[in-house]
Symmetry: C2
Subunit: 316 residues, 2 copies
């Protein structure tokens, strides 16, 4: 392995010395500063992230599992703070919250593509009594603000990396599509094809995935969840949903999806007591947004250290 | 264990429903927003955090160890990004950087005191060609700005939690003490006693700890490292140092402290090539700053979910 490690060390140093990374990070920093300002003005409470917990996102795809033991108890590394968002909103004074949340998702090697990292950060937000329409207009307003700040403050950085900013001239409200309609039009690769054909971000509604995404009771078998799709082939940039929060619905959905009820016993107990509240929210990937904003080939191009799945060995 | 779990669940729900947490989080959010603004104005590049890596902080005290396996390789959970800060500064265009960095330190149960959490966030910064004086005046200017923003924007929140703000009227430059002098004056508990006797934050210089903290070559056996001590008994709020970066010095220090050189072979190789650069920096704990700002009994009082060591069982 020694030769291989030497090659990897050279690659690692070359990546660290990237001539464009300082500019990309400055643009990303401007995005995050604008996000925080926007949240602050809207009165949305910021929570600090957790990185480990007895329960975490069930995720709709399989990753390498890893548990941390602490004081004899098993903790998962945080895949997302979805349940901690729901639980924090049990506080009667908290109406809305967000977290700049680092997530670990130990993706299988086959996800060593242009858009996955095995650790990344997402901006994760949740509104008590929220719904899809509210999340959509909130996010459209947020992006309008963030992109205008980036355009106003990062001219030199865009010039340095040789990227224009016309893709940041977004027009709101974004179009809304349903997965069943795009699937009919484009076939199974509908998300990628529709992203490539679009010049504007769009909403994609109704995905069969997690138990905590609310099923549409007026149209069973469809779901009140949504993704924001970046245009020009940059694909998924945000996932969110109205949430299941009622005891009976949570149990039904957990059983459909084979969730380990024992692991979720305290969460289920709070649902049973009626403590969980109606909410809707979403999380958007920071590095994926930066990849789109900076029009980079790979999400890995916006990080200093390599966290792309499938390398087999990581130096730092 | 069932009864015990029921009691813990009630405690957990009671903590989530804390009447003061919304105000504390708003104050903390104001601190962080001011920190980001300050960094932005100073042109300090923001990096996103990593949560796992092949090498992490060696720490000068023992915690429960946990490794994550990914693609057959062992990763440590991130105790601090000290090495990744040094490594990122290998990029010739990056002069300074910071990270809002969540850290996992699985403290032994005996650290279940008023000032430890087993996961927390720190603002971690590093300056190429930096030195102690520069870090001190930078941090004093930063705190002056952060506290003035908090006082200007959070009057209602301080009122709601029944806390004044006179402790935020800081006078800079802070006093500087050396550990050997305070030890002589107060004995082994000098840090806590001096903190309790002070009404202003102060610097505490020269700690025998990590290999990467530079030894003072003009006064061997003493170190160019420092803590910022919060007054009124709130004790340590920041740790930092000028860094070792030369190959021979790093090897000497590693051998003194019994560091695993095999685990650090790539880091050592870069030092050998002269790639590591002179730097100085520090990290300050977000929740500890908030505890001081909000004058709370315990650092655990500023979080929604319990991460205090020694509970033996954690519900969420």
């Amino acid at each position: 392995m020694e030769i291989n490690e030497k090659v990897l060390l050279e690659e690692t140093v070359e990546k660290i010395k990237s001539k464009k990374i300082k500019h990309i990070l400055r643009i990303q920093q401007t995005e995050l500063k604008a996000v925080d300002e926007f949240m602050y003005k809207k009165g949305i409470t910021r929570m600090m992230p957790l990185m480990m917990a007895p329960i975490t996102d069930t995720l709709n795809h399989s990753v390498e599992e890893n548990e941390l033991k602490y004081e004899g108890q098993d903790f998962d590394v945080m895949k997302s703070m979805i349940f901690h968002k729901q639980l924090a909103l049990v506080n009667p004074e908290l109406d809305s919250l967000y977290i700049v949340s680092p997530n670990i998702r130990l993706e299988k090697a086959e996800r060593g593509d242009s858009r996955h990292l095995f650790e990344f950060s997402q901006v994760d937000f949740e509104f008590k009594n929220g719904n899809m329409d509210q999340v959509f207009s909130f996010m459209e307003e947020l992006l309008t603000y963030v992109f205008s700040e980036v355009k106003a403050n990062c001219k030199d950085d865009f010039e340095a990396i040789g990227v224009g900013t016309s893709h940041l001239d977004i027009v709101t409200p974004f179009k809304r599509y349903r997965t069943e309609d795009l699937r009919e039009k484009y076939g199974e690769d509908f998300e990628e094809i529709a992203s490539k054909e679009s010049t504007q971000p769009f909403w994609l509604i109704n995905h069969k995935r997690e138990f905590y995404d609310a099923e549409d009771l007026n149209n069973m078998g469809t779901y009140l969840n949504y993704d924001l799709i970046w245009p020009m082939g940059y694909v998924e940039g945000l996932s969110g949903a109205e949430r299941e929060y009622k005891y009976d619905r949570i149990l039904v959905r957990m059983r459909e999806l084979g969730v380990n009820e024992e692991a979720f016993r305290h969460y289920i107990e709070l649902a049973k007591r009626g403590e969980l509240v109606k909410s809707a929210g979403a999380g958007f990937g920071v590095e994926r947004m930066t990849r789109f904003v900076c029009q980079q080939n790979e999400v890995s191009d916006v990080t200093v250290f390599c966290r792309k799945p499938g390398k087999g060995k990581y130096i730092f």
